[in-house]
Symmetry: none
Subunit: 198 residues, 2 copies
């Protein structure tokens, strides 16, 4: 929950988080400015100052890249549910964060989903597991993907077929979903890992 932040401030914070997980170190003021097309570092600096004042960021004065995103909000956002109708996955929806080694699962932007139901037990993915996904809008055949289908997020095997896409579960009791090209299917990411707390 990013309460009390303006849109721009939330965007800046999100960028800093993404930069951190992709690069392994925080961005400079100018790198933030470049991301948003600011012609002066001052603009980025202002937003970062505001984030500090509101307690979302800590910075050691004078030192380059000496940033801390507070509120243990780092690395991998854990998305419980996805708001319907959003054009993009907003990080603001994240309830919690997982602090994992960002290089452990490879490169890219990641998020986590808590698994509900037993549609993937065949792959030894059980209820309550946290599935780690790399954000991407396409997938290879056979990969496990998180898809947004009619305002619901599900985890399925992705299989393109002649006249659309089949979404298969790893549970014989759950029947395959057939998606036509005209249906609103969006791939949120592909599974790259799993974390279980017992």
């Amino acid at each position: 929950m990013t309460r009390g932040l303006t849109d721009r401030q939330a965007q800046v914070l999100e960028f800093i988080n993404n930069f951190l997980s992709r690069q392994g170190y925080p961005p400079t003021v100018r790198e933030v400015a470049a991301q948003f097309g600011f012609r002066s570092p001052r603009a980025a600096h202002d937003h970062m100052k505001a984030l500090q004042k509101k307690g979302f960021l800590r910075a050691a004065p004078g030192l380059p890249r000496a940033l801390n995103v507070v509120g243990h909000a780092k690395h991998i956002p854990l998305l419980g549910r996805i708001a319907a109708g959003q054009p993009m996955l907003a990080v603001e929806e994240a309830d919690e964060y997982l602090d994992l080694d960002p290089t452990f699962f490879g490169h890219g932007s990641f998020f986590a989903l808590s698994v509900r139901g037993d549609s993937m037990v065949g792959d030894h993915i059980q209820e309550g597991d946290l599935v780690i996904l790399r954000s991407q809008a396409d997938a290879f055949s056979g990969e496990v993907v998180a898809v947004l289908l009619e305002d619901e997020v599900t985890l399925k095997h992705f299989h393109p077929v002649a006249d659309g896409v089949e979404l298969r579960a790893a549970n014989p009791l759950v029947k395959t979903i057939k998606v036509r090209p005209e249906d609103s299917l969006r791939i949120l990411g592909v599974m790259v890992g799993l974390v279980r707390k017992v």
Copy 2:
């Protein structure tokens, strides 16, 4: 596996790791130098260059704090095998490290084991999974434990019975092991989590 590194280089790498986890951002060359009492940044820079050449560190040239520690170094040691006859689990035996949020699985001292075989498929633990364990020498009935039995480490359900201990697998094809009190059974830790890389 910190082989191929000199003592100093290993110390520098460890410091960079510690700095990273405490501060949230990597140190500068001069901060490394200060830590070791070097009177010239050149000394630290040399060691960091050596670490880069050996593949333990990546650095963007010219940019301050733009460091990446490669090769998963920290927090949870991943134990592939356990040397026989050792009185304690020496952390030096670790081949690799997992960098997880240390508070994610609770408190204590942790290590990880790579799962071989399918004796725990009933619990949805499959080959190649990394099982996270809290180091402790005892366990409650029913908990999943890693035990050292005749120079071999196995993952089993722990069940004390009248005349000893039963170690049960989560696979009907694998038969239960009965351990008498006089046998050399040592519990290494209890399972607290699981990480899977797909």
